[in-house]
Symmetry: C2
Subunit: 402 residues, 2 copies
């Protein structure tokens, strides 16, 4: 994208702001968003508005006058609900003092990076990964260090622990571990999680753990737990002081637009998070937090429906795309994205634009997700079977060799 220069009359703009990275997904959205009838599979959200029971909880709190300044770390009722949810889901008793409410998962990640890294520090990112991670690290003046994962057309993606270890320098402050992963659908094994913890212990690093797709796990081995393996499954007591979990209400509870998430970490950083929130955003509206409490307490059947829809969507998309000659798509074990490798020509951004033009379907180009993503496309299958079937009907001909 070409960027217009800033006018000479303007005072200098800070390097971090002037150099803020463009979003590779945003480029495609800008290209196609106005097309009538386009099926948008480019961003990570479903087609279902937030269910009424959650909205009604916000309305009740609004009517009750919960419209005054709020607590920087979140209202006690929500911090307690989060602690109970996490304790139950992971069989790992944790208290509310570890939970800090944020403006969505993005703000949780931003806050985690602010805690972990100073300008000039390095943050290791296994790639391909969510493009916003690069932008948020760079915005802090820190350096994202991509470490490509390995792709196998049959076995899918895997983490190369030796490459992670080799990427650590004296400036490294954190490793971002996203499992199940966006965009690849990769799910870390216990061995992966233990290996990353070992590196973090050895070098005194933070682990920024993004397990927001944890409920979206299609491996029958994990079905009984209702979640993917977590770093909690393998950590030692002292590791509780080195992991910052970034989380969100967006995916599980169909609340992408609410901008409510949370950071979980050692209670001793509460004072720091309090200040970072106070001077950054001054908290999350109390009435939205009451709705989040209701989402957690009454939302398990909603999550089950969302996971079932994603499972059905995954089958539709995988069946259609794996039948196209030249397309490689090992079935993703987690999250709600398909990330097919497509023929090398044209490059992925051009191909995604062609799919907008010729199929009226919106996908994200793999190169937006960093090294190792080139030549792939991402599409979100957390959507109705009808939409996904129609999207496949339209786009398969564009992908099929002529």
């Amino acid at each position: 994208m070409t960027v217009p220069p800033l006018p000479d009359t303007m005072p200098p703009v800070s390097r971090e702001a002037a150099g803020v990275l463009p979003s590779g997904i945003g480029e495609l959205v800008a290209y196609g968003v106005e097309r009538p009838g386009l099926i948008p599979l480019w961003v990570g959200e479903g087609d279902r508005p937030t269910p009424a029971f959650i909205g009604e909880a916000a309305q009740r709190a609004l009517r009750d006058g919960a419209t005054f300044y709020t607590r920087m770390l979140g209202i006690p009722a929500l911090r307690e609900a989060l602690a109970e949810y996490v304790s139950r889901l992971y069989g790992d008793p944790v208290g509310p003092e570890r939970f800090f409410v944020t403006v969505g998962g993005m703000h949780a990640f931003h806050t985690a990076i602010r805690i972990a890294a100073e300008p000039g520090d390095e943050v290791v990112l296994p790639t391909p990964t969510w493009s916003n991670f690069f932008g948020a690290v760079a915005m802090q003046g820190a350096r994202p260090v991509p470490v490509p994962m390995q792709f196998d057309a049959t076995d899918g993606w895997s983490l190369d622990i030796a490459r992670i270890a080799a990427a650590i320098t004296p400036r490294t402050r954190a490793i971002v571990l996203n499992t199940p992963a966006n965009p690849t659908g990769w799910v870390a094994t216990r061995a992966d999680l233990e290996a990353v913890l070992t590196i973090a212990r050895r070098h005194r690093l933070w682990i920024v753990a993004d397990e927001i797709y944890g409920r979206f796990c299609f491996d029958p081995a994990h079905a009984e737990l209702g979640r993917a393996p977590s770093i909690r499954d393998v950590w030692q007591p002292e590791d509780r002081d080195r992991v910052l979990f970034v989380q969100t209400f967006s995916k599980n509870w169909a609340m992408t637009g609410w901008r409510v998430g949370w950071l979980e970490g050692p209670a001793s950083i509460g004072r720091i998070v309090d200040g970072l929130v106070l001077y950054g955003t001054s908290g999350v509206a109390t009435f939205l937090q009451h709705a989040a409490v209701t989402a957690i307490r009454e939302g398990e059947s909603l999550i089950a429906e969302q996971v079932a829809q994603a499972r059905a969507g995954r089958a539709i998309v995988c069946d259609a795309l794996r039948a196209v000659p030249g397309v490689e798509l090992p079935a993703p074990p987690g999250a709600f994205y398909a990330f097919p490798r497509v023929p090398a020509e044209p490059e992925d951004i051009c191909l995604a634009k062609r799919i907008v033009d010729e199929a009226n379907v919106g996908l994200a180009p793999g190169s937006a997700f960093g090294p190792g993503g080139e030549g792939f496309l991402r599409l979100c299958f957390a959507r109705s079977a009808a939409d996904l079937t129609e999207a496949m009907r339209r786009m398969v001909p564009v992908l099929t060799p002529r």
Copy 2:
């Protein structure tokens, strides 16, 4: 406040995060917030919940399914409503492309500082001023440079332009200009505004203009306009590229807890703000923005009521406090705070705590507002006459020499 050390098992915390400033107001709130019957005048908010017509607009948007990811710069309807509001109020036609929706005024200020200053840069703050300004500048790794204003027991506060000019160094990037001012109630004259603009032009500085109390102006000379003098009244066309306005729905529309505000600046920084929002918070919930549109379009009578209540509260508080021997309180020409100078002993923080203990009234200590604020107390008079009358009845004896 003593801060517990971080455990040794924890990886290093960034200097900016570890050094995040405590809030001097927060210390008092923590001291007294649990007291039954306490009248809280320590923070800048009224006692009125958000009126129903605004909450109902949010509820309608929620029911209409406005729960998906939103635009980083704000929904077009809100940006247009903001442009119309500002154009009308200031007689200064501006377009929606200058308006960027933020998570309250705090996030607008944070974003403005991010644009203006890099780590090590300096930001000039006339003081006493809102304590969060110090925290937000320091959180960016930049240095707040306080420049005390002058206090006269009869004429009130005034800006010392020569001191501002003398504080400029090669590292200065911005001057924060808050008028009407928190906590002093000072209102800039046209001459003040022109003088600050002249300094900004000469040194190529940003002006971060906080005019959020602009509607709260008690000087009969400005009553007809319905607002205080603004930097817009004196700026030249090219100055539009050097002023960043930080604004909020909190005060005018009784929406402190909603966390909706806006940044106004040159349209050419739109790309930058888009990225800063994307990687920081990812926007403000669409349904909250629809409510903000309703607040602007239908809220003028609400603002008139709020200003009338503040005017009445100002009279109650000034009459009571000015009668106390040793208290100096020139009537504040704007905003909604009284900032009396109290006898030097005990120091202001101890006195504020004593007022909590003996009068069950919550005030903010003047030293929280930076150099020049020591020996003053701040109280918010945007509150019912009954509460303020009772608060004065209780606290005047504590202030009266024994």
